[in-house]
Amino acid sequence: MNFEPPAPRTLFEKVWSDHIVRPATASTPAVLYIDLHLVHEVTSPQAFTKLRERGLKVRRPDRTVATMDHSTPTTPRDERGRIPIGDALAAAQLAQLQRNCTDFGIELHELGAEQQGIVHVIGPELGLTRPGMTIVCGDSHTSTHGAFGALAFGIGTSEVGHVLATQCLLQRRPKTMEVRVEGALRPGVTAKDIILAVIAKIGIGGGTGHVIEYTGPAIRALGMEERMTVCNMSIEGGARAGMIAPDDTTFEYVAGRPRAPQGAAWDTALERWRALPTDEGATYDRSVTISASELAPMITYGTNPGMGMRIDAPIPRPDSAADSADRAALEKALHYMDLRPGERLLGRRVDVVFVGSCTNSRISDLRLAAGVLRGRRVAPGVRMLVVPGSQQVKRQAEAEGLHTIFREAGAEWREAGCSMCIAMNGDSLAPGQYAVSTSNRNFEGRQGKGSRTFLASPLTAAASAVRGAIADARELSDV
């Protein structure tokens, strides 16, 4: 009798097949079960309207959690401890979310509440995000949660409605792509630099149709918050999801969080989670390798996250582009940014520095920025905003005295939210201004109409605030 061992599978394949309610056929996609649905005010109202029109309920309110983050102001609280909302449209949208959550029985972390924050910050910190889950949200940065070995991806509002009503989505199976990061990061080079380098390599559309799994020793060496930074920007390379196999780092992070399993349930879960990593011999549709030890701090110079380079490199020349379309795209980007081919960005004056967003607003990000700012000042004429990702991050930072470091340096210490990453909440750049931002998108107008964004790590952002110009944090000691 022949014994056929089971075919080796990737992390993605295991999570995918565990959630199949109805398999795909040639004529129909798979029905995929969703374990956790995160909801925010901007992409959900029309989905709830659809439910009301059709007389439907939310199938699993216990698997649905809402927060307010995108259109919320991050301005200081009033004397009653409330965060005033000056924008009538934003206020109406937030009130609509409140009404929807009340009517449909959904847990809501409303503006200023103890656990409120950016949806991709609160999921992990509450222990809602766990290995092996399927997680969706009407937000492309849902890929963040893949850091835990979950399959997590952004969906549109129609699909938000599908998940509210049925807890399922219709999905064709995506392809897989391994991004292997060999070696070890050098001091002053961070997770943000890894992912900016990956996107610069594969291109803004390079991961389209794929789920990325990040592997290799440099990924294993990252803490959970750094892994979230990497997975967060998978979408900026076109991949809907990015995943990292769970390990002891993951389990230690999840253990003891409010929604994590306890006692015997924890032991059962742990056994299941330990079986999730990709099997020896499993294959991916594509593989890309980069070397962490060769990486330097990265910065973007253009108008999409794939237009990134080493911070000390010259801006690429359009005449060296691969084809005429790439050349035109680079020329258009440099025209918008008012930058010259061959120019170096180090030393270039900036107006604003933004530390925050679902990419880099967690406590470890704030510690990095504070480490640079301790005993230093934000340069005259530069505005620096530090926006914690959640109320919990804010409390933790204040317990550590980080807010004092920021304030003494001359930076603004704000309430939690998406803030200047999306600029639909009162926090924005003026037309033509330059910002170094720890966020995820440098698209035209992303940080306000006419805004110009350089994406970089919290270290680079803080060093640039001190210099008043783009700076390499590794060279700051001589300030």
Binding site: V21, R22, A26, S27, T28, P29, V31, Y33, V42, T43, P45, Q46, K50, E53, R59, R60, H70, S71, L89, A90, A92, Q93, Q96, G138, D139, S140, G154, I155, G156, T157, S158, E159, G161, H162, A165, T166, Q167, C168, L169, I204, G205, T208, G209, G238, R240, N304, G306, A325, A329, K332, I422, A423, P431, R441, F443, E444, G445, R446, K449, G450
Partner: protein, 199 residues
């Protein structure tokens, strides 16, 4: 509201060319227009920062403001259209403006999925065909294209037929006017069984 939506079988119209590559959804509709709770009325905000000056008047050099754009229901755009944010406001704005199809060499995944759910056809074609469409000789208005969903064919102005792929279920939904929500609701028994087995 029933489980059906308006079928989309063919689109036949003149086209406009937006040559930019990697058009992200922040360009299609900037975030400041997302503070709405409705999906109607977003057509005016389509490509707002490219389409209007600081004072809100139309920029005469932007393609949608040129006379030949009038009535065109097909947008031919550069590679990797719709990247970035998941906002379904992007296809709502394109549909609100009057587009019924976007033709490109590649679409970002979430935009592609959102477009299909709103009767906006994402038509993926090879780069040589795209190049022909961009450089088609014109006097004023560009000639008409025909998109036929059933045969998965884009017919060029000279009559050449070009195949484009549509996922089989999406095609079925477009042709028959089927709403995915209805399909999923009909799987309720299987969903309940799955939940029973995976508490």
């Amino acid at each position: 509201m029933s489980d059906t939506i308006t079928p989309v079988r063919t689109v036949e119209s003149t086209y406009v060319v937006l040559e930019a590559q990697n058009v992200d959804t922040d360009q299609i509709i900037p975030a400041r227009f997302l503070k709405v709770t409705d999906r109607a009325g977003l057509g005016d905000a389509l490509f707002a920062d490219w389409r209007y000056d600081e004072d809100g008047s139309p920029r005469p050099d932007f393609v949608l403001n040129r006379p030949e754009a009038r009535g065109a229901e097909i947008l031919v755009a550069g590679h990797n259209f719709g990247c970035g944010s998941s906002r379904e406001h992007a296809p709502w704005a394109l549909r609100g403006y009057g587009f019924r199809a976007v033709v490109s060499t590649r679409f970002a995944d979430i935009f592609h999925s959102n477009a299909l759910k709103n009767g906006l056809l994402p038509v993926t074609i090879p780069s040589d065909v795209h190049e022909r469409l961009v450089s088609w000789p014109v006097n004023g208005t560009r000639p008409a294209l025909k998109i036929d969903v059933a045969s998965e064919t884009l017919t060029l102005p000279d009559g050449t037929g070009v195949h484009f792929p549509i996922e089989s279920f999406a095609k079925h939904c477009l042709l028959e006017g089927v709403d995915e929500m209805g399909y999923l609701l009909n799987a309720a028994a299987e969903i309940a069984a799955y939940e029973e087995a995976h508490p």
